[in-house]
Each structure stands twice: as structure tokens, then as C-alpha cells.
């Protein structure tokens, strides 16, 4: 029995049979959840003379090429669309982090008349499904003259009610004493907010940032409604357009989807530590 001794975090030995079963299921789930991305990646790398419809399917490209990626750029201005998406997503991160932190702080830590009403407004806004109001949003946006602009894409989600309430919760969980001490030392409300409370809720700010970026980068319905001029398309809308126009060339569409998804996967791979830390902290508690 030279089976490697594998232990869990508590140093307990896990029986080999259980290990085999567990890793077997994990690999199966991996194939189901990640396999389609790999298949798409492989399609995007297949050369023009390869049979992409072969049966049985062949996974590895026999004449791998990056040609399809340059062809996407020839067909639609994919880099401009990507740049539009980056602009909207970055702006969304900034507006959400700043706006939600400010409002969350005021809802959790400051006293003033109308605070309950303000809190209620955010809760109600969170309950309104976006899917039921987008026509009215569109009309509002037209009245503001912002249809078909990236600002119009950005604005409705620029400060999410959900994010405000998340920040509020984070600030409420901070102990009062430190801020009181700072107050006694004469720190004003901005100083207490910026120097004491905000640094203590960095984790929540990071979560808001990650979700804001992904939300804006991935959004489909609202940009589809607001944007009509191909010049201003974001990547998601551009891709749908690419699919509609050139659906007969799967290599091209595959390359387009890879351009849209690879940066995001890379970003997530870099940030996943922060993302799963919350879960890990919970585990320590339990």
C-alpha cells in the first residue's frame, strides 16, 4: 500500500476510495463547466481547411492559427467595442465604490432627519426588477438626450441600491469606539469617513468593485435597448451583432467570444483570493 497519504486541513487522513470518488466527480464537474470554454477556444484556433464538424469531433486543432482573431477585427471593430466596454466597466466601478461607500456610511453612521426614508428608498429600489422598468428607463434616458451614448449605458447602474446596502451593513458592523475616539480628538466627518471607517471595510469595497466590473462588462439587456448605433456598441452587443451577421462561420464567432471572456477569466483568476476569502473567513468561524 504505497498510496500517498492525503490529509485534509485538520490533518485527518482521507480514505483512498473516498478520494477517488471525490476527485472523479470533481473532474466530471470540471469537464461539464469548463469544457465548453475549451471547445470554443479550440474552435477559434482551427484553420480554414480543417473540418470543424467532424464526427467524432477532434479537440486539438490540426493546423492551429491565430488568423481567426485578426479576421474578427477585420469584420467588426472589436477592439473599439472592447474599449467601450472597458470604459463603461471602469466608470461603473468608480461610481459604485464611491457612491455606495458614501451613502452606506451616511445610512450606517450619521444621524439626521430623513435617514429612515433614505434607507427605505434604497430598499425599495433594490426590490424593483430592472426587467420591468427598462422601457420607462429608456424614455427617461431619451428625455435626458443620452440614448445611444455610453453615459446612457452607465447611468442606471452607476450606484446600485444593493451595493449601498452592502456598504451600509459593512459600516454597521464596525465597532463604534474608534470613531468616537477620533471624534473626541476633533476629526470631522470626512476625516472619520476617509481615514478610519473606509479602510476598515476594504473587503466589501473590493467585492463591490468586482461585481460592478463584471456586471457592466457582462450586461446585455440594457445596452441592447439603449444602443442603436454600431459605433457605440459594447462588446456584448457587438458580439451578438457578429453572431447575427456571420453566424455561418463558427471559427469567427468563437474567436470573438474568446476575446470577450479571456480578459475577464484572467481578472477573476487574479482576484479570486479576495473573492473566496469571505468564504474562508466564515469557515474559520464555524
Amino acid at each position: 500500500m504505497s498510496f500517498p497519504r492525503i490529509t485534509d486541513a485538520d490533518g485527518r487522513r482521507v480514505p483512498p476510495a473516498q478520494l477517488f470518488l471525490r476527485y472523479g466527480l470533481l473532474l466530471l464537474a470540471l469537464a461539464v463547466l469548463v469544457g465548453p470554454f475549451l471547445w470554443q477556444l479550440s474552435t477559434s484556433l482551427k484553420g480554414p481547411h480543417e473540418d470543424i464538424y467532424s464526427s467524432p469531433p477532434s479537440f486539438f486543432p490540426s493546423e492551429p492559427t491565430l488568423h481567426n482573431y485578426t479576421r474578427v477585427a477585420d469584420t467588426i471593430p472589436v477592439w473599439e467595442y472592447a474599449f467601450n466596454s472597458i470604459k463603461v466597466a471602469s466608470a461603473n466601478v468608480i461610481t459604485n465604490c464611491v457612491g455606495a461607500a458614501l451613502a452606506g456610511y451616511a445610512l450606517a453612521r450619521l444621524r439626521y432627519r430623513g435617514k429612515r426614508a433614505a434607507t427605505l428608498a434604497f430598499i425599495l429600489a433594490m426590490l424593483v426588477p430592472v426587467e420591468t422598468i427598462f422601457i420607462a428607463q429608456f424614455i427617461t434616458m431619451r428625455q435626458l438626450g443620452l440614448n445611444n451614448t455610453l453615459v446612457g449605458v452607465l447611468l442606471p447602474a452607476s450606484i446600485g441600491a444593493m451595493n449601498v446596502l452592502l456598504m451600509r451593513n459593512a459600516f454597521m458592523n464596525l465597532p463604534n469606539e474608534v470613531e468616537e475616539a477620533a471624534f473626541v480628538d476633533g476629526a470631522n466627518v470626512w476625516q472619520r469617513f476617509l481615514r478610519i471607517s473606509l479602510p476598515a471595510v476594504k473587503g466589501t469595497v473590493a467585492v463591490v468593485a468586482i461585481f460592478s466590473f463584471m456586471g457592466a462588462w457582462d450586461d446585455f439587456l440594457w445596452p441592447l435597448i439603449v444602443l442603436s448605433d454600431p459605433e457605440n456598441f459594447t462588446l456584448t452587443i457587438g458580439l451578438n451583432y457578429l453572431h447575427g451577421t456571420f453566424s455561418n462561420d463558427s471559427r469567427l464567432v468563437a474567436a470573438g467570444t474568446m476575446i470577450a471572456v479571456l480578459p475577464l477569466i484572467a481578472l477573476f483568476a487574479c482576484l479570486q483570493r479576495y473573492f473566496f476569502r469571505g468564504v474562508g473567513e466564515g469557515a474559520v468561524k464555524g
Partner: protein
């Protein structure tokens, strides 16, 4: 004369009114003191109070205002106008007139509305059980701290990270008549299945995509819940001779039941409002003869564009809103009953 000093000395100073909830501050603090004593110009002061006073624009409303403005303009106001429009004959570029319940009456006789309502409901019924159960199993698989688990967790989250358009296009390619799944099916001798041409298979495929994309998201929610299940319970059950399945049913499920209800509520609300997956897989027209249209797709089609019937689309929106709220209330109610 005395009142003329008030506006200057009165700006309610939130730095003072702020976190002194427990009171106990020195007696002569805050705006009151300022208004009674004839203080000289506040700007000339430099003491400890001066540091607080110098930055006057610190009203709490400055903190809340941007958020309230965005949320009010782009959520609450559109919601109210949607309600109002549902009682009018408004069109995209023309103001309508009040028509009472006419839009709602028309809904009752609109075949397309019933098809869409059926599809949205079916979608929910099909997707929710899978999204309550499968992510829990997935979470159990990656829960234990064994080698490689960080990798698996992140990898399982990939479909959540990817844009719904990317996911839709990947699956259209996978499910195509000549796509990967059909060529695998042919290889093993089953033959082709028209996932994208049959009305029901199309809906089923879209459901599968929704489940596939949602697994990782709900897995993370379950992971947080599982972290709080006391290890001792499992050990006690194991000592009593309960196998893995038995322990799942008697220990894990009761411990994460609240989370299951939450996941059920979230996924049913999301599923009922489905748009993108069906739109991308069935096409803007909603599949053959529009038979796969969902409610939100119908709203977009009826109310969008320059000729859109905003009033009618708003009535459909109100229906979606009412069902969504009803679903949440129902689930919450169910949850409370179980606790009692």
C-alpha cells in the same frame, strides 16, 4: 438682530450631531451654543472646534444625495411611470390618454401573452429544483480543504464570470445540428437531436444553460452556509453509523435549509424574468412562431423601438412585477411556517 446670526451659526453641524448617540458629550456643544452666544465669524476660529467647523459642507445629505439621485431617477421614478403608463395608451413617441384597465383586459385575450406567461412559468419550474440541489452537491465536493480545491472552486465559477452573450454563443455552437454534442451523439450511434429547432427542446436547452451558468454562483452561497455547520454533528452521525447519503439528508440538509430557501427564492425570481438566454438561443423572435417567447422578451418586443406600445408593455411589466413580489412573499412565508 439676533435672528440674523442664525443662518450663519446654524448650519447643523453633523460632525457634532453625528455619532454622539450615547450623548454624554460636553454640555455646550453644537449649534445651539452658537446661536445663543454672539459668536464672531466662525472662519476666524482656529481652536479644536475650528477644525471641525472648517469643512462645513459635510451634511449627511451630501453623502446620500448621489445614491438617492441615481436610484430615484433610474429605479423609483421609472417604476412609478411604468405603473402609470400601464393605464394609458402611450406609445414610444406619442403621449397616450388614460384608458383605465383596457391594457389589462387586452392581455387576457392576447395569445402571445399567455404563451409568454406559460414559458416564463415553465422556465422557473424547470430551473429552480436543479439550482437548489446541484450547487449544494457541488459545494460539498469542494468544501473540504484538500489539494487542488482552490483551483476547482475558481474553475467552477468561470461560467458565472462569463457574459451571458458569450455563454449563449458557446452553447448555440455546442447544441448546433453539427455542433459538439450532436457529433458526440452521432459517434455513439444515437443520432442527431434538433436542440435548436424544436420548440420544447429549445426551451429545455435554454434552461440547461441557465442552470449551467448559475451553478457556481449558488455554490459560493452554499459554501458560506456549509462553513457554519458544526463538524461535530457529522462526526456524531458517523459514529452512529450513518453513511454519506444518510448524513446528507439528516445533517447537511437541515443545517442549510434556510440557505436552500434563499437560493430557491433568488433563482425563481431570476428564472421568471429570464430574457438573455432564451433571446440568444431562440433568437429575437422567440423560436419557431414565437412559441419560446418569455414575458420579458415580450415586453422588449412590444414596448421597444420607435413604434413601441409603451402602455401595453407597461401592463405586462406590472404583471411580472406582481408575480415577482408574490414569489418572494410566498417563499418567505413558507420559510417562517417551517420554523414555527
Amino acid at each position: 438682530m439676533t435672528s440674523s446670526t442664525a443662518p450663519r451659526a446654524f448650519p447643523p453641524d453633523p460632525a457634532v450631531a453625528g455619532p454622539t448617540r450615547q450623548g454624554s458629550g460636553p454640555g455646550g456643544r453644537g449649534p445651539r451654543g452658537g446661536s445663543t452666544t454672539p459668536t464672531p465669524t466662525p472662519t476666524a476660529r482656529t481652536g479644536e472646534t475650528g477644525r471641525i467647523r472648517r469643512q462645513l459642507p459635510s451634511s449627511p445629505w451630501l453623502f446620500v444625495a448621489p445614491g438617492l439621485l441615481v436610484v430615484g431617477t433610474f429605479s423609483l421614478y421609472p417604476f412609478l411611470t411604468t405603473l402609470y403608463h400601464s393605464f394609458t395608451s402611450k406609445q414610444a413617441l406619442r403621449p397616450g390618454s388614460y384608458v383605465g384597465l383596457a391594457n389589462y383586459r387586452e392581455l387576457l385575450h392576447d395569445d402571445m401573452f399567455w404563451i409568454a406567461l406559460r414559458n416564463s412559468t415553465l422556465y422557473m419550474v424547470g430551473v429552480v429544483p436543479a439550482l437548489v440541489l446541484l450547487p449544494l452537491l457541488l459545494a460539498l465536493l469542494v468544501e473540504r480543504q484538500l489539494p487542488g480545491m482552490t483551483f476547482f472552486r475558481s474553475a467552477f465559477y468561470t461560467p458565472v464570470v462569463a457574459s451571458v452573450v458569450v455563454v449563449g454563443l458557446i452553447w448555440v455552437w455546442m447544441l448546433d445540428d453539427r455542433g459538439l454534442i450532436n457529433s458526440l451523439l452521432e459517434t455513439v450511434g444515437i443520432g442527431k437531436i434538433g436542440f435548436l429547432s424544436d420548440q420544447w427542446l429549445l426551451l429545455l436547452s435554454a434552461m440547461a444553460v441557465t442552470v449551467w451558468k448559475g451553478l457556481g454562483y449558488y455554490m459560493v452561497i452554499y459554501l458560506a452556509a456549509l462553513a457554519n455547520v458544526p463538524r461535530e454533528l457529522h462526526e456524531a452521525a458517523a459514529v452512529d453509523g450513518a453513511g454519506a447519503i444518510r448524513r446528507f439528508v439528516t445533517v447537511t440538509v437541515p443545517a442549510v435549509r434556510t440557505t436552500m430557501v434563499l437560493v430557491g427564492a433568488l433563482s425563481s425570481v431570476f428564472a421568471f424574468k429570464v430574457f438573455s438566454e432564451v433571446y440568444l438561443i431562440a433568437g429575437p423572435g422567440g423560436g419557431p412562431a414565437g412559441e419560446d417567447t418569455t414575458l420579458v422578451m415580450l415586453i422588449q418586443r412590444v414596448g421597444g423601438g420607435l413604434t413601441g406600445r409603451v402602455g401595453y408593455a407597461s401592463a405586462i411589466s406590472v404583471v411580472v412585477f406582481v408575480v415577482t413580489v408574490a414569489l418572494m412573499l410566498l417563499v418567505l412565508r413558507f420559510d417562517r411556517k417551517e420554523d414555527a
